[in-house]
C-alpha cells in the first residue's frame, strides 16, 4: 500500500474528523496531502520560503474550515489543491509587484508538465487528469501557454501580455477562447 496514496474516501473521512477538531486526523491529512499541495505552491511561487509559508497558511485554513468542504466541490484533494492555489495567488499579489516578474520563459517547461508526468493519484483523478491533458493538447499553442502561465504562474492579463510579448487584447482572447474550447472539449467527452 502506497503510504502517500491520497484516496478520496480516506481523505473525506479525515476532513470530516478534522472538522470535529481531531488533531490526529489533521496530522494524517497533512502527511498524505502536503506533498501535493507543496508541489503546486512551489511551482506557482518559485521560492521555497514563500511556498512553505503558503503551505502553513493553507493547512491552518484547512484546520479551521474543514467543515466547509462538501463533496459537490469535487474530490477532497481537488478542493485542497484549490485552497492552496487561491492562497498562492493572494500571496503573489501581495509579494510580487507587477514589475518583478520572474524573467523566465517557463511556458515550455509547463507544457511538459501538462503533457507528461503521470498523475499522482487514484484512478478517478487519473482519468479526469488524462481527459484534461487531452483537451489541453487540442488548444492552439498560444491558448495553451496562456492558460498554463495563468494557472502555474498566477499571471494576470497584463503579465501574460508581457511574458508572451503580445497585445493585451490578443492575450485576453487567447485566455477566453482557450477556456471556452477547453470547456467544449471536456463536456463533449463527458457527454
Amino acid at each position: 500500500m502506497n503510504p502517500t496514496a491520497a484516496e478520496p474516501q480516506r481523505l473525506m473521512m479525515l476532513l470530516a474528523a478534522v472538522g470535529r477538531g481531531d488533531e490526529r486526523a489533521f496530522a494524517e491529512l497533512y502527511r498524505i496531502s502536503a506533498g501535493h499541495l507543496y508541489a503546486l505552491l512551489l511551482r506557482i511561487l518559485q521560492r521555497s520560503d514563500w511556498a512553505e509559508e503558503a503551505l502553513q497558511d493553507c493547512f491552518l485554513k484547512i484546520w479551521q474550515k474543514a467543515e466547509t468542504y462538501e463533496p459537490s466541490r469535487g474530490a477532497p484533494l481537488t478542493w485542497l489543491l484549490t485552497v492552496a492555489r487561491y492562497r498562492a495567488l493572494d500571496l503573489l499579489r501581495m509579494k510580487r509587484p507587477e514589475t518583478e516578474l520572474p524573467d523566465d520563459d517557463g511556458a515550455a517547461a509547463l507544457e511538459a508538465t501538462a503533457a507528461g508526468d503521470d498523475p499522482q493519484e487514484g484512478a478517478a483523478a487519473a482519468q479526469s487528469s488524462e481527459r484534461l491533458a487531452e483537451c489541453m493538447r487540442r488548444l492552439s499553442t498560444e491558448q495553451r501557454r496562456s492558460v498554463l502561465l495563468a494557472y502555474f504562474r498566477g499571471y494576470s492579463h497584463p503579465e501574460l501580455a508581457r511574458a508572451l510579448q503580445a497585445p493585451l487584447g490578443t492575450v485576453k482572447s487567447w485566455v477566453r477562447r482557450g477556456l471556452a474550447r477547453l470547456r467544449e472539449c471536456l463536456e463533449a467527452q463527458t457527454a
Partner: protein, 238 residues
Amino acid sequence: MNRRDPALRSALAAEYALGTLRGAARRRFERLVQTDAALRAEVWRWEAHLASLALRLPQQQPAAGVWAALERRIAASRQRPARRAEPRPAPLWRVWAGIAAAAAIVALVLFTQYRVVPPGSAPPAAQRAQYVALLKLPDSNMQWTLSLVPARGELHAVARGEYPQLGAHSLELWWISPQGPVPIGLLPTRGEGTLALPKELASSPAITLAVSLEPPGGSPTGKPTGPVLTSAPADRAG
C-alpha cells in the same frame, strides 16, 4: 453581466477559477456567486477541471520544520476563545455523511438479520412491500406522511402544517442511497402529491429519506445545494 447567458456565465466562472478575473470585476463576481447556486456550481466545476493540472505535478515533500511551525500556530490560535465552543448547525455535507453512515448501519443490521433466515423463506409479500415515513421540519409544524411502494416505484405524500421560512424556495425529497443522495422530487407544501421513486430503491434493504431547502424548482445540480432540514427512515408497514 447578462446573468442568464450560459456561455458568459461559464466564461466568467472559468476566469475566476483561473485567477485572470481581477479587481472590481472579481469582487462583483464573488458577490454574485454568494446568491447564485448554479454559478457557484460552475465555479466549482472549473476549479476541479483546473486542479487536474496540479495533479500531474510530482509530489514534493516540504521541510519537517513546516509541520512544527504549523503546530505552533494552531496551538497559538487555540489560546483565543474556541471557535468550536458555540453550537452551530452541522455543515451540509457532514449531515449527509451522518445520514449515509446511519443508513449503512441499518442496512448492515438488516443484512445480518436476513442472513439467519433460511434461503427460500423470504417474505412472499416483498413485491408489494409498503413503507411509511413521517418527516417533520424543525421550527415549524410542517410535516409529511409518506407511503412508499418501492416495487411499483410509487410514493404518496400528504402535507400538513406550514413552513413559514419557505419563501420562494422549494422543498426537495431525497433518498440517501449508499452512493449518496438521489433526488426523488419536490414535496407538496399543502394537500397531497404522488412522486416517482428511483428503481434502485426497490432493492435497498433499508430506506432513509431527507428533505433539503432548494431554489424554486429544485436543486439545479442533481445534488442537494441547500441545508438539509430533516431526515428519517422509512419503516416497513406491510
